[in-house]
């Protein structure tokens, strides 16, 4: 569906994307995980056939965005990071006029608008002004709008950034349904839980390059341990205690507010910490996540 090889994007002397290889297959949910500024959005805008490729090869649905931009855009759906809804017209009109951009007949668009309002649970808001919608509703409307042409690939750039937890879950639920219906999803996110929930396969991006690729489970298995024991000592004391517990884990990460001990059995590790007479202010045992993978690969956290 999407094939990229040695793909680059520069803005003047700044290289946002520095040679990435990606192959997205039909029906899968593919993710770009990385912190802000990793080059995810620049990649997405190239894939959406709106931002010219600086160097490398890019094919979307077998077509070259440099020559077939309109043909590509007719067959993909785009849900941008920032809402581009028209706030002065109604929810229904936003979908209707958008459908018309694809050259679809009015009657057909009207039918699709009703279906999509139902799908994103905005039927009651159909005649409301976009200004009156909550952030989550606007996001759902943007998703509905991106589906008006029944796209083969749906591109979602940070689909739940800025939403409260409840609104995020509603969006995830809708995206999950789309995935079950066979729509190819390509999304960027800097939330590891979003990547874990939604994607079958993902690449971890940092500073314009791909640092790892695989399914969420495989990436965790490859780059982290099964469990993580988190220890919180007092302010400024984390670092000085790190040396005393180093040998209890496969690996220790020192964060400003806590220590992370990578181990196969977290409870057992914490018991050993206590045996040594150390008394952290708080402890927590959890499974490894993609956040740990990112920390391992880059030495930094995803959200700072």
């Amino acid at each position: 569906m999407i094939y990229a090889s040695g793909l680059r994007k520069s803005f003047g002397s700044f290289e946002a994307v520095r040679g990435i290889d990606v192959d997205v297959r039909r029906g899968e949910a593919f993710g770009f995980l990385g912190p802000n500024g990793a080059g995810k959005s620049s990649t997405m805008r190239m894939v959406a056939a709106v931002s010219p490729v600086t160097d490398g090869t890019l094919r979307i649905l077998g077509m070259d965005p440099a020559t077939d931009g309109p043909q590509i855009r007719a067959r993909i759906g785009v849900c941008p990071q920032e809402d581009t809804l028209d706030t002065e017209i109604t929810v229904r009109d936003n979908l209707f006029v958008y459908g018309r951009y694809f050259g679809l007949p009015r009657k057909e668009v009207k039918e699709r608008v009703d279906e999509l309002l139902e799908f994103v649970q905005l039927t009651e808001k159909a005649n409301a002004s976009v200004e009156d919608l909550s952030g989550g509703m606007k996001r759902r409307l943007t998703i509905a709008r991106s589906l008006i042409n029944r796209p083969e690939v749906l591109l979602l750039d940070e689909p739940t950034t800025g939403l409260d937890p409840q609104a995020r879950h509603v969006v995830w639920d809708r995206l999950f349904r789309l995935k079950q219906q066979g729509v190819t999803l390509v999304l960027t996110t800097h939330y590891m839980d979003e990547a874990e929930q939604l994607t079958d396969r993902l690449v971890v991006m940092d500073k314009g390059v791909i640092v790892a690729e695989g399914s969420p489970a495989a990436l965790i298995a490859e780059h982290s341990t099964r469990e993580v024991a988190e220890l919180r000592f007092g302010v400024g004391e984390n670092e000085q205690h790190a040396g005393k517990v180093e040998d209890l884990a496969d690996r220790v990460e020192i964060l400003p507010d806590r220590l992370l001990l990578y181990t196969s059995d977290g409870e057992e590790t914490i018991a050993k910490v206590h045996e040594r007479g150390l008394q952290p202010a708080a402890t927590l045992v959890r499974r490894s996540t993609l956040e740990d993978v990112f920390l391992r690969l880059t030495g930094r956290t995803l959200v700072d």
């Binding site: 855009r73 941008p80 581009t84 809804l85 694809f102 029944r150 083969e152 219906q181």
Partner: protein, 273 residues
């Protein structure tokens, strides 16, 4: 919703004009929301001008055709000037703040160009709406002025009205291009105060530009509004000089075309950065 029914009826437009017609429903939707406010001003404003400047101020001006480029009264003299100025003012209103809004504030253009539509179609659609607005305001103006006996012939009135689309385009494409590249809106107030208002006052709408000092007169003759005013006046007074008229048309068309290429370049750059 059944997304298994993938269908490819969504298509790329065959050409930019076909693409621009896909934007008609968007602009119609926007206009349905805003027409009331603009309708009142486009009816009332020309009437006020005609009454205040043409009738009342005109009372103090000697009706001497030799002094008024052949017009039998001051009202007859300024009517075509006001018509062309109306076209210009409508354009200034439609391609400054609204263009910036659709790029920067509402980001409507980003939504449009995420579809099979491209920058050319987006500009054509927007210009189409501008011409629609010009057609309305100038059409109203022409009708309001007709009872005052300012048109020598019917065909002259019709042609004078049609010429306003060309006047409008000569302003619309360059100003659109200017707006498309702006990062913030502060230059607009200068565009209005130092661009539109002086053009309005000194481009031959209110007095024959021979009254200006020679350098100022030459300067006035370079401004697009003077070409529009002079062309319109020839038509309403039935004093068409074919060569001069063709020069006016060529000048206005050249501006419109150059502005078009500039606009496409500026907006393309803006949308892909």
């Amino acid at each position: 919703m059944d997304l298994d029914k993938l269908d490819h009826r969504a298509t790329a437009p065959a050409n930019p004009f076909a693409g621009a017609t896909r934007l008609v429903d968007y602009w119609a939707t926007v206009y349905r929301r805003t027409w009331k406010g603009s309708a009142i001003s486009s009816f009332v404003t020309p009437l006020f001008y005609v009454l205040a400047m043409g009738v009342l101020l005109g009372d103090y001006v000697t009706d001497d055709p030799a002094q008024l480029e052949g017009a039998s009264s001051y009202l007859v003299f300024i009517a075509p000037g006001l018509l062309a100025a109306q076209a210009m003012q409508t354009v200034f209103g439609e391609v400054t703040y609204p263009v910036m809004g659709m790029i920067k504030w509402q980001k409507t253009y980003f939504g449009m160009t995420a579809t099979p539509l491209s920058v050319r179609e987006v500009i054509l659609g927007h210009l189409g709406f501008v011409l629609f607005r010009v057609g309305l305001t100038c059409g109203v103006f022409t009708l309001v002025m007709a009872p005052f006996g300012v048109f020598s012939t019917v065909w002259g009135a019709v042609l004078a009205f049609l010429v306003q689309f060309l006047v409008a385009l000569a302003f619309a494409t360059p100003i659109y291009a200017f707006s498309a590249g702006l990062k913030d809106e502060s230059p607009f107030s200068l565009v209005f105060r130092l661009g539109m208002i002086p053009l309005f006052l000194f481009s031959g709408a209110f007095f024959p530009i021979e009254n200006l000092d020679r350098p100022m007169e030459v300067f006035a003759k370079v401004t697009p509004l003077w070409h529009g005013v002079d062309l319109t006046r020839m038509l309403t007074l039935d004093t068409v000089d074919l060569t001069t008229a063709l020069v006016h048309v060529a000048y206005l068309a050249a501006l419109a075309i150059a502005g078009w290429f500039w606009a496409v370049r500026r907006l393309t750059k803006r949308m892909s950065s």
